[in-house]
Symmetry: C2
Subunit: 714 residues, 2 copies
């Protein structure tokens, strides 16, 4: 039994210390056994008290139990347990009951006796002191002659994996406080049948869900939100990740929207091979210099060495443009506008991060050729607007549009436009998507020319090099969205991209509910789902058996579903549903009549409010500075900097050096980034106040050309 | 000038012999110069006569010319030229006209003086004898002191690249034959203004388009149809091809249809990395044996060698299933049904063929896990039906559904089901798409288990290995469709997948047409297009300037657009459009009133007729044989064989050996395949007549188990 527990923990990447000792009947014996053991722990630890209760219930009903987990020194009065578990009365369970439900004896029993298969017969009451405890918990691995030491988060991780309903209880608070609350409890109880009170239940669940604080350990939080929110899994090739349906579906939404936009302006999709010969790859010098260190090379097929190594595309400029030279024979072939939805490979050696920096990533890459600069330039900006649309309209993430400095532009291109985002938690800027005007550089390299159509009859027709653009948006957008909106309960998805916009959870079904009543409730829910679906709403009726409403609430909150509808017998009577917004937690009852309209309006509000909130945060964290002295302190406050800038590359290098955080700096938040600040963009929307020839660059004192957005960044 | 011509020819992969000699004013001098030259050709050759005519026209109109290309010994009466060019009168053009339109002198002029930029001012009359001539054509490269020798197909290739309107004329037929036809010509002429007669024009164009016969040189035909039909281009990494928008759009149609089907049964899309570690790849022995010789290995990133080589997925079973083992913890996680739209790499060393066998190809791969064999089996067949639907409903290509023999099944799986197609021109079968039941083989390898949900309370819960399927459909489908439907004029696309289902070409606009009339015609056409588009029809109004209707007809016929609408002043008067079906060539006038309905019906007919035609051909070419003696002769007649079979692998090997064509065999068509026949499938729809225990396998004489479809195949 114990080894089974160990392997189960290992599968959760929990590798606890295990100590063997004599069997023990109770906490006192257990402590003695540990103290006598050779491996007596030399770290802070507390025994985990595990007790099983049986609620009073008619014999005709299936047996359920309440399992209490508490620190050894917590006082855990039974009334507080029964109240938390929402049962009238409960007694310590007899050995037969423990055996039949948890397949273990009363002395061996531990949280590990709860497994997926019995979780639906269990309510788990969790002592809040466990969560706050920083030492190690001593737990029997379903065997009283052994002890494993794990920390509270691992215990929570395990419990989450079992899908047991967890009710967190603060045993330090007095259950029998003011008598007025007794009545209130009664009322709350009645309501709870329909809508389990969110305060305790959900809060506990959230802690069970995401075990680290977003503000405290952002990378840990990000990883948990992605994996527990079912977006992604880690993969055994470093820097590569699995996009699970929940995140891939978001990508599909983005694809659908963006694909329609670009097709609307005449772009067509195509597919070029992922392989590129070294000769072609290395054709444009500046360009390849930027990518060469990250190119993955295929050198073998089967057991044969290839004559020449073949690269996997890091991007497709040099893959595609030899063919543009072939296909474009006359100005009548212009504009040529092709796009690909594909994956590219950049074998970065920097620390990888899901969505943000991965060795293979999905993106679209557009490559277009135009007769004139004006046409090319117009498209560059049109595409940039679409990119901003993906962020602002779909993902509810604000961005600043602008142009990259010479230092930061795309290697080999003429100029780069960009959408820049901001991650408030880390105070770092992030490049959202870029739309490049390549000018005539590539067309000159690859010989992409047409004869001048404006040449007069009989004149020598001049050869014109075409004007080219390339533009790309990757799955990085998903990572930015998660970082901006996610909270302590998990993902928060904007309605426009959420796989399910609405989830309906049946509530208030108890052992006393008749089959007929239940069936009628499920029918209603299916009808509601159908009505919403017919109105174009992506809705999921969560009629899974064997999961409590509380479990379902947590599950969908972790996954960020924008709106939850609860529906129970009382709602049926009142012809209403009870709504809970994921973003604000706001709850309300709304009538069934006109539900699709109300839900659509609510979803629109959620979408708008998410954007508004993120926009406010972004705006508040752009500090327009008037002297260099303000720069580093503002960066240390996790802000971005808007400052008058000379646009010179040497000055930009200098700013990067001078804006690194040094040990002497005052910092409000030790988690604020410390690297030097880069220029993020020259915003199209310039703040007022820059007087040419008068306003100086704050860094070097030369004439400032423009306001430029700087920041520590990804 | 001559060198420019040479480089232009090179860009078309035409590398002619060039001979220099003295300048010459006419054909007699030219032949003398060649005869005197050191490089006097020692092969059959004829001089190409190039003459320029100017049709009579009001001075106010832009100047156009007629260029005649004829063999030196063809008699080419001017009336026949003017008639073909549909002009009233024409004279040999004066030098100034030749210079102004063709930028060359009368003595230097050659077909190479026609380029894209002037092609709209030229009508080219092509002597049919050129096309039939098997020797080399002597042509001036716009310089009378040089001669290049090219064959007729290269000349046609060049002309095609210029997009000039080509009118083919048989100068051996008597233009002044029976006087009755004179009147007929008059009538035809009137009609021609609206609808250029297809007989001569299009036939000539078709030859200019596809220069080899489908029946004569199928590989050459296939290559031309794909490249000239704008589906695909060849790529500089061998075995890889560029999917241009015209073919990628077909793939998008297939994706949309199939994606909706699988989502409808609960499959979700996801994305797994393209890379797989050797350890994981090699986990399932039988499976990897099938793929190992074709796996591409990445061994370097930038300039660093990787610690371990990493494979590019040839398929994703071993990529995905370790995660299935992790994700599937209970029967409640089943079925798990994931699909990917991605590309895979199989570095085959066999001769590559666009769409059919390529080193990287696009496909979808579904991977599902089920609790029971019954569930898995049900899905295998459901998916196979969807695959058959892609072929039969979308691509109008009939297939035979069945099960693969043990010898031909997917390595490592339990059994394979398949859709088998047939290419009448080569008489070869082709595997269309396969849906595999993997059984429990992979789940045992990867440890994908759940506890038996049917175990009774308290019993030991048995571990059940899940049942798995995998299924894939690739861009190969496009190749099959092209091979089945394409004809001598190029592609024939079924309406359901064609990028444009309908193209509208303005006709009957002459130099005499007023701007107002033209504008009103274009307005009408735009309105028609809008009406059709509103009815869900993918329609293109081809209002390109500078291209003749004939050129546009050829262009869209090459590209296989199912239905052409022609609309001219007379149609406007009659409130009708003139329709031309791509598949049958059938033409008719239909009223504008109710056009969308009529067009939709026509498109449905085209779709149905394409299928019917292909189905008839398939059915006629499956020969149910009753003795072994019939097998090889039938195969030699490019048929597939339906025969009672013992299902034994040794016998199948034997059949392959014995069914190779030998030199002594009588063959109707030397192009029939000669390799041994493979079993294609055990059709679900079995012919009658097999009596168990009585009917014998035709190959070995043992008891026959089933009818099996055999054929020489791709």
């Amino acid at each position: 039994m114990a080894s089974e527990v160990e392997s189960k923990l290992k599968s959760l990447s929990i590798n606890p210390t295990v100590v063997s000792h004599g069997a023990c009947q109770n906490l006192v014996q257990w402590r003695e056994q540990l103290d006598q053991s050779d491996s007596k722990p030399d770290f802070d630890n507390k025994l985990l008290k595990t007790m099983v209760f049986k609620p009073k219930a008619p014999k005709s009903e299936p047996v359920t139990v309440i399992v209490l987990l508490a620190l050894e020194d917590s006082v855990t009065p039974t009334p507080q347990i029964t109240k938390a578990a929402a049962v009238k009365e409960a007694r310590v369970a007899i050995p037969e009951v423990v055996q039949s439900i948890l397949s273990t004896s009363v002395t061996d029993v531990s949280p590990f006796a709860i497994v997926k298969e019995n979780a639906s017969s269990v309510k788990l009451v969790l002592d809040k002191a466990i969560i706050d405890y920083k030492g190690k918990l001593a737990v029997h691995p379903n065997d009283s002659s052994k002890t494993v030491f794990i920390d509270a988060s691992s215990l929570q991780e395990y419990l989450l994996s079992t899908e047991v309903e967890v009710i967190e209880v603060d045993f330090t608070s007095d259950v029998n406080a003011p008598s007025t609350s007794a009545a209130a409890v009664g009322k709350a109880e009645a309501k709870k049948a329909t809508h389990p009170p969110v305060s305790a239940n959900i809060e506990g669940a959230a802690l069970i869900g995401i075990t680290v604080k977003k503000e405290g350990d952002f990378p840990g939080w990000y990883q948990q939100v992605l994996t527990k929110g079912d977006m992604l899994d880690y993969y055994d090739v470093s820097g590569c990740y699995i996009l699970k349906p929940w995140s891939y579906g978001i990508w599909e939404q983005i694809q659908r929207w963006f694909d329609a936009k670009i097709k609307g302006i005449g772009v067509e999709n195509c597919y070029f091979p992922m392989f590129v010969s070294s000769k072609v790859l290395e054709r444009e010098k500046d360009h390849i210099e930027g990518f060469a260190p990250e190119v993955a090379w295929v050198t073998k097929a089967g057991s044969s060495d290839l004559d020449e190594p073949i690269a996997i595309r890091p991007t497709s400029e040099t893959v595609m443009y030899p063919y543009y030279a072939k296909w474009i024979r006359s100005h009548r072939d212009l504009p040529l506008r092709l796009n690909q939805w594909n994956s590219v490979v950049r074998w970065e050696f920097k620390h990888p991060q899901p969505f943000l920096r991965t060795r293979e990533f999905l993106w679209q890459e557009g490559h277009t050729a135009h007769l004139t600069f004006e046409d090319a330039n117009k498209e560059v900006l049109q595409i940039l607007d679409f990119y901003a649309g993906v962020y602002e309209e779909l993902l509810a993430v604000p961005v600043v549009k602008g142009r990259k400095t010479e230092k930061e532009k795309f290697a080999g291109g003429l100029f780069t436009t960009t959408c820049e985002g901001y991650i408030p938690t880390t105070g770092r800027g992030i490049q959202g998507a870029t739309s490049h005007c390549l000018g005539q550089n590539f067309s000159k390299m690859f010989g992409i020319t047409v004869e001048d159509p404006s040449a007069k009859e009989g004149e020598e027709k001049e050869k014109l090099f075409v004007w080219q653009n390339s533009w790309g948006l990757s799955t990085r957008v998903i990572g930015v969205m998660v970082m901006v909106h996610g909270d302590q309960k998990g993902l928060v998805l904007p309605p426009r991209v959420a796989g399910h916009q609405v989830v309906i959870v049946p509530c208030g079904i108890t052992n006393k509910t008749s089959e007929a009543k239940k069936e009628s409730l499920y029918n209603d829910i299916n009808n509601i789902a159908q009505e919403l679906s017919a109105a174009g709403i992506r809705v999921k009726a969560d009629l899974r058996e064997g999961y409590s409403p509380g479990y379902k609430f947590n599950d969908w909150e972790l996954k960020g579903v924008p709106l939850r509808l609860e529906y129970g017998p009382q709602d049926a009577d009142k012809q209403q549903v009870f709504t809970a917004r994921r973003d604000t937690g706001a709850k309300a009852a709304i009538p069934l009549k006109g539900l699709a309209d109300s839900v659509n309006k609510l979803l629109d509000s959620i979408q708008a409010d998410l954007y508004k909130k993120a926009k406010t945060s972004f705006d508040e964290n752009i500090e327009t500075v008037t002297s260099w002295d303000q720069v580093v302190p503002a960066l240390n406050q996790k802000k971005l900097i808007m400052m008058p800038f000379c646009l010179e590359e040497a000055c930009e290098d200098d700013i990067k050096d001078r804006s690194k955080r040094t040990d002497g700096d005052e910092v409000e938040d030790a988690k604020a980034p410390s690297m030097g600040a880069k220029s993020l963009c020259r915003p199209f929307d310039q703040p007022p106040g820059l007087v040419p020839g008068q306003t100086k660059c704050l860094a070097c004192g030369k004439d400032a050309k423009e306001f430029c957005l700087f920041g520590r960044s990804y």
